[in-house]
Amino acid sequence: MSQVLHTPPPTTNPPAPPAESLAELAARHGLTVSGARPSLVQYVRQLWARRHFITAFATAKLTAQYSQAKLGQLWQVANPLLNAAVYYLIFGLLMGTSRGVPDYVPFLVTGVFVWTFTQSSIMAGTKAISGSLGLVRALHFPRASLPLSYCLQQLQQLLFSMIALVVILLAFGIPVAASWLLVVPALLLQFTFNAGVAMAMARIGAKTPDISQLMPFVLRTWMYASGVMFSIDQVLAGKDIPSWARVLLEYNPAVVYIDLMRFALIDSFQGSQLPDHVWAVALGWALLAGIGGFIYFWKAEETYGRG
């Protein structure tokens, strides 16, 4: 049947706009360009209008996760506990990184949970668009809803982990203190940081899905550089390393957020162990990543969904 195709039959073009191009026709009736990127302000407004979808999607993902398991939602708490137990077995008992760290188990578990929050947010963000192409191609919504929703899911996950963490803290005799309230601002800042990085990674992952293969290695390297299982101070003590490397290690955002949480929760973790101006640094990272990531993501809004 191909021979027919090369000779187009007389096309009847009924609504041929007389002496007016289609673009002019559209402009005269105030039509908007479909699939065009909204302005930043409009975009924020659209996102806000979709807030219920963002939260519902996050909760739905979280609930769906263990819906087939017999223990059901109990895994939300059991999972992080088991995770912490494995790390304790390896780093606490076998490798002896606990030497010189007071309250090693709370130290370790806090580190693991806080790090997992950042790690899984970034990982989920990387796949947020490329893994939900069906959704992106079927429905209309500001695409930033997806990475944000995935980060929110991780935050909810972390809140479950925090229940486990409180149990562990009390079991190891850490006293309840007013400083525990600092968890709230610390988590808020960390969430903003995570969401920003997740959005940036979502754009990169949408363009190059291969990144999601690479990310586990990047993240694991980052984890070992962030003192999740050991105290960076202890490891570096007495070693001669260039000062820029020390600054880099100290102001690494993961270190900042992990240490803030340890400072808030564990009484033996002193303020002197925190880097200078730690709250300002935490805020700086959050704003830099949050705003930067959001704008970077928005810049490609109209291209998401291209195969």
Binding site: L31, A60, L139, F141
Partner: protein
């Protein structure tokens, strides 16, 4: 199906008394898909390496294939029109529909719309591990309804789907539904929202005979409330029943655009006799 809309399509020739208001203007649109991992070596490592090294020089040689799905299509659709899109498989109908909905970026040209056209369908937003009840909420929110709107229509959606006719199934996870039941619920959620410009992609009327009748009636209702309707279908009868104007796409090109009867006549000749 006697209520086929006959609206001002007759006003094509001669000056129409009142000026018709365009709702969708498609102006010289090209849509191109890029597919990774094709080409000579397919998925082998050397082919991939080759692809990376020669990235910018030649996309084609590097194993990225371009599929030109829609070529230079232009038309204007007006308020009150119901437009059918026909063409053989793979001729770009659904692609064009997605581009009108703003879900697929166009390569060249522009698509202007009045308001936000929406595709009828929410399948992608639903999660089979969740109960039907939660999926109704999730689907509704995903389509851009507010929480209050979903609450308000919740009972209608469930009643329409008929999921609860055989017991309390709405509180069970969707994965436990039969395929027919799931399709019914999906359609009921999708059809719960009113649209300015409604895009319907074939084979929506699923389920048993009684549900098919109900959903056909619902589509008609939606159509009457919507400003403009696009319907993709291989069923010439449903096109004839629903649409007053038909666009015929073939290999991504707009072959014909005109009143339903004329275009369908040509199309039926092209595809080899009446179905």
């Amino acid at each position: 199906m006697a209520d086929t809309i006959t609206r001002p399509t007759e006003g094509q020739q001669g000056a129409a008394p009142a000026e018709r208001v365009p709702t969708v203007v498609v102006d010289g649109v090209d849509i191109v898909y890029r597919v990774n991992g094709t080409g000579a070596g397919r998925g082998t490592a050397t082919a991939a390496l080759n692809r990376i090294l020669r990235r910018k020089k030649a996309e084609k040689a590097a194993g990225v294939r371009k599929v030109h799905a829609v070529r230079n299509v232009s038309f204007a659709a007006y308020r009150g029109e119901a437009i059918g899109l026909i063409g053989t498989n793979g001729s770009g109908k659904s692609t064009l529909l997605k581009a009108v909905a703003g879900l697929l970026p166009v390569e060249n040209g522009r698509i202007h719309t009045d308001g936000q056209p929406s595709l009828l369908g929410v399948n992608a937003a639903l999660m089979s591990d969740l109960t039907g009840e939660r999926n109704v909420f999730l689907g509704g929110l995903a389509m851009g309804m507010s929480r209050e709107q979903v609450k308000e229509r919740y009972q209608d959606i469930v009643d329409f789907s008929g999921i609860n006719e055989k017991g309390d199934f709405i509180t069970l996870p969707m994965r436990t539904y039969s395929s027919g039941m799931a399709a019914r619920l999906r359609f009921s959620i999708a059809a719960a929202k009113d649209h300015d410009v409604l895009l319907v992609d074939e084979a929506l009327a699923t389920g048993d005979r009684s549900f098919q009748k109900r959903s056909e009636a619902r589509i008609r209702e939606l159509r009457e409330r919507a400003g403009t309707v696009f319907l993709v279908s291989h069923n010439n009868k449903s096109i004839r029943d629903t649409c007053d104007r038909v666009l015929w796409l073939e290999r991504g090109e707009l072959r014909m655009d005109g009143p339903t009867a004329d275009v369908l006549k040509e199309y039926e000749e092209f595809t080899g006799g009446k179905k």
